[in-house]
Symmetry: C2
Subunit: 241 residues, 2 copies
């Protein structure tokens, strides 16, 4: 039995001796792409039961069966951090979702703002990116990618206790703002390329949950800003400490 | 005269009344792509004289002439921070260079390690990416992209006073390691996908300049690690404070 290198997200429950059936996509990946055979090991996680070692019992073109042996990692849930962003060009949107999963966001929410070009996203494709990033980075959790929604609606029903780190171009550095913040549920808010409209800015400034911060003297692209803000939050209030 | 939105890096000196000739690429970009005409304004920077407003005096298919009027931004040099990384797949290498320029690295050094696949890079293409990122992010400086060189050789002649932030998977968080570090010239070192070899690790551990740090509980891709480490350094010791 080879050492398990491949990590696979599955929906099935995982436990000692548990049989895990594979769908056609998973079977194709494991048996045709990665060339696994009966007796080979893989690592499984489902976002609830941690990471488990499993071995191939049956392999086929359109399905297969794995059997769980032992738990290799406990469940590690990310901190309660949302990433709210306005989708940009396809490659950069994919990138933001991948990075958010890698850096440990718990929920990813694409929003339409006044200056957002896209009026639709491929939610299923973005969710698949998040899953692949979780498989790759050794995480045991896949953040949910929400469907595209208007920023106005999201802010209209915003929870009173969830803080918003608004990556504005103010003079307060993100690091010092976070250093004096209490632990709480948070969301990072990244604007579209054209920035937020005057109305949106006014609304955000009026919300008591909002902390506007700066990310340095240069103007960061939306994808860079997302990674930088996730990093600063995780290293100050999150699970990098 | 329209409000200047376009930023262009030029090599020519910039000063009040200075005439700045354009080469064929720059003329193509300004006059064919961006459709500027005589009298229109652009912003210029050259990495030495800050940012200047200039107006189009002559436009042509293969060249043109601008005239500098007033300085719009003083020169802002980035802190003395190098990014040393092992090139990965093309798109992710491009991305690392773009992000390093945006986040304010002063020098970008691609290195060959034992587990690096690429034995060559297109230095000119990467340098063009760095220039474009500087134009886009409002910076007044373009970091130099060095040619690919063996890590062994680079470490062999490493300056005694330049610290190395080695993004290893140790238990020391990058944030706390940086918080107790004195200001100094630094370099961030990001390994290849397969990690550093045992020999390379041994050598790095033996260097007094090296500070090994962790970037959280998940395993970051090289491009994510580069952005995260640059962010933490800039927010702790750099120009984001």
């Amino acid at each position: 039995m080879s050492d398990a290198k491949i990590r696979l997200y599955v929906e099935h429950p995982l436990a000692h001796g548990q049989a895990v059936p594979l769908n056609a996509d998973q079977a194709h990946y494991l048996f045709s792409v990665m060339r696994l055979a009966t007796g080979d090991a893989v690592l499984l996680f489902n976002g609830r039961d941690g990471e488990w070692r499993a071995t191939v019992q049956q392999s086929g073109k359109r399905g297969g069966l794995l059997s769980c042996s032992d738990q290799t990692k406990p469940l590690h849930l990310p901190p309660d951090l949302w990433l709210v962003f306005a989708p940009i060009k396809k490659a950069r949107t994919d990138f933001i979702v991948e990075k958010a999963a890698e850096l440990g966001a718990s929920r990813i929410i694409p929003v339409q703002t006044r200056h957002t070009n896209s009026d639709r996203i491929r939610q299923d494709r973005l969710q698949a990116h998040a899953t692949e990033a979780a498989e790759q980075c050794g995480g045991t959790y896949v953040p949910e990618v929400a469907d595209l929604q208007p920023l106005d609606r999201l802010l209209g029903q915003w929870p009173a206790d969830r803080r918003i780190l608004w990556c504005d171009e103010t003079l307060t550095s993100a690091r010092s703002a976070l250093a004096t913040s209490p632990p709480a549920p948070w969301a990072i808010l990244i604007g579209p390329e054209g920035g937020f409209s005057a109305d949106e800015q006014k609304r955000l400034r009026a919300m008591p949950q909002v902390t506007p911060v700066s990310l340095g003297p240069r103007i960061l692209r939306a994808d860079t800003a997302a990674v930088a803000a996730l990093t600063l939050w995780q290293s100050t209030l999150g699970d990098w400490r």
